[in-house]
Amino acid sequence: MHWFSSLATFFQILVNGIFLGCMYGVAAIGLSLVFGCMQIIFLAQGAVMILAAYCVFWMVTFTPLSPFWGFLFIIPVFLGFGFVLYTGLFQRVAKTGKNPSLLLAFGLMVLLEHLMAFVFSSDYRTVTTKYASTALGLAGVSFSVNRVIVAFVACAATALVFLFLKKTILGKAVRAVSEDMGAAALLGMRPEWVSAVTFSIGISLAGVAGVATCVIFPFDPYFGFIFSLKALIAVAFGGLGSVGGVLLGGIILGVLESMTSYTISGGWADAVAYAAFLLVLIFRPEGLLGRRLGEKA
């Protein structure tokens, strides 16, 4: 064990963890939305993230645009991509049950990973931005500008999704269909359409998280699966049904990992995350702020 050498170091690690956690959070919100409409863990969330990361990578390679434009362009593209995925693939299996949907998500994940490896090669890629080496200093803690921007975008995305769900009629329909599809249909909501919308938003959130990832980490086609797991852990921490809660769950995970990485070692960070995950599942399955995953009345 290796303790913090100073208070400033502690805050530094904390801040790093928070930024990391914001990324987990955004991917996790997407995951919880998809869970709401399909009742499955969408394992391919991480792979979709990496796909977005590759898109940004190639955008940056061939155009002089800054990667942050990626946020703007990925969102509509991935909304469309999600819609196509749902209506083309998942809608057909949604009726059959949960197992086929889970397998389909899994198959999609493997397919995406291998396609990307084939097309883009398995080399690690990185994306640099103008701000890569700039940092703001505040009270002895350095905030990398990259990460600040990413965290900001993550929070903005979360806020947007929250407003959508809370204030628009379609957003309310999304929440209703997630809770009780049959009752929603009786009121005239078309479950397939609403599910398609929900899924698309989930995918575009994965896209946003992917853009965030590529700016911060080097990535390769197989990087995504770990992210899927982490997003899942974030959802477990935060609980379903609360957008803010899931973001918070992501942040808690990020901080936990960051702290463990520093005090013990990077390898154990993952183990601690999984152990915490199991504990939360067992002792507080509804998460800190939300409803239970899995069991619907």
Binding site: V93, G97, V110, H114, L278, G294
Partner: protein
């Protein structure tokens, strides 16, 4: 010919024919170099893994994503004990011990998770278990030799035939285990739990006990496979032992063939194994893509599995083949 079919008997006859072939074949070819022998070895292991998962996943409705936990545990227990010279090469005691370790692990975790978690949660918990073991193996210092893994004396290797027959034995044992359990009152309880857990509990079924039994039985077989794998590869490391392929592929095979049936995982194992080999031969570069695309297609068009398709489908070429009708009647 159709009229002469006796319900079930033809199915068993067919099975015995295959079995006879499997038993005799390695003796008529050069086992070391035979492609088919190696292919069958791998497939037998998959049959065992798939059936092991099928008991808890298919019959009891408890989807576990933790096969790799038990497989890896089996690998490591055997490797560690062998290295300490407590057991020998292809030592049945060692293999059974590995299986028992897996069972103990399953009972502990099973009691903990199954008593509190349902459905997806349980699946996630098992996944987490596997990942935790994975990390422990990496950081296990001298016991697990860290990420480099444990090397075992490969000069102990005698013949491929031994592995082949042990794998066949494990596969047969697993099938027999499932046949016995599912046709007993335990089997009834498991299906009752799968169909309606609350009703089963209300009718006096000790739900937790049976779930753990199914889970632990599957774990035992998985541990056996892991042990054999350690003997086969003469090297055990965390990436290989806890590889998620060990989770995914057996589940896929079971679902393809039909979860909750006896024949399903067997069919699924042979077919999928065959597909993988075919893909590997024809397009080695694209093999993973092809396999993944196959997975997507299967889930789109055969979501209930092959067995349900054969037995449930009113029309269909396969249905008319006497062979398949015989098989269908048996299951």
């Amino acid at each position: 010919m159709a009229g002469k079919l006796n319900s079930g008997k033809t199915g068993w006859a067919v099975g015995l024919v295959f079995l006879a072939f499997f038993v005799i074949y390695p003796f008529v070819v050069d086992a070391e170099r035979s492609y088919l022998v190696n292919f069958l070895y791998t497939t037998f292991i998959y049959v065992a893994l798939a059936q092991g998962w099928n008991l808890a996943g298919g019959f009891t409705g408890q989807v576990s994503l933790g096969t790799h936990a038990f497989f890896g545990a089996g690998c490591y227990v055997t490797a560690i004990l062998w290295r300490l010279k407590v057991i020998g090469y292809l030592d049945p005691v060692g293999m059974v011990l590995s299986g028992i370790c897996a069972v103990i692990l399953a009972i502990l975790i099973g009691l903990l998770l199954l008593s509190k978690l349902r459905g997806d949660y349980f699946a996630l918990g098992t996944l987490g278990l596997g990942e935790i073991l994975h990390v422990i193996a990496i950081n296990g210092g001298r016991v697990t030799e860290g990420p480099m893994g444990i090397n075992l004396p490969s000069d102990a290797y005698v013949s491929m035939t031994y592995y082949y027959f042990i794998a066949l034995a494990i596969a047969l044992f697993t099938i027999a285990l499932l046949l016995v359990i599912t046709r007993s009152s335990i089997g009834l309880a498991l299906v009752a739990i799968r169909e309606n857990e609350v009703a089963a509990a209300a009718n006096g079924v000790a739900v937790l006990k049976y779930k753990v039994i199914a889970f632990a039985a599957g774990a035992f077989v998985t541990g056996l496979c892991g042990s054999l794998n350690a003997y086969y590869t003469f090297h055990v490391d965390s990436a290989g032992a806890f590889n998620l392929d060990w989770v995914i592929i057996p589940i896929l095979m079971t679902i393809l063939g039909g979860a909750g049936t006896i024949l399903g995982p067997i069919l699924g194992a042979f077919i999928l194994s065959g597909i993988f080999e075919l893909a590997n031969m024809l397009m080695p570069q694209l093999h993973p893509i092809f396999s993944a695309a196959f997975i997507v297609l299967v889930t789109l068009f055969l979501p209930d599995g092959l067995m349900k398709y054969i037995t449930g489908h009113k029309e269909g070429v396969l249905k008319r083949l006497p062979l398949f009708r015989a098989i269908a009647r048996e299951t």
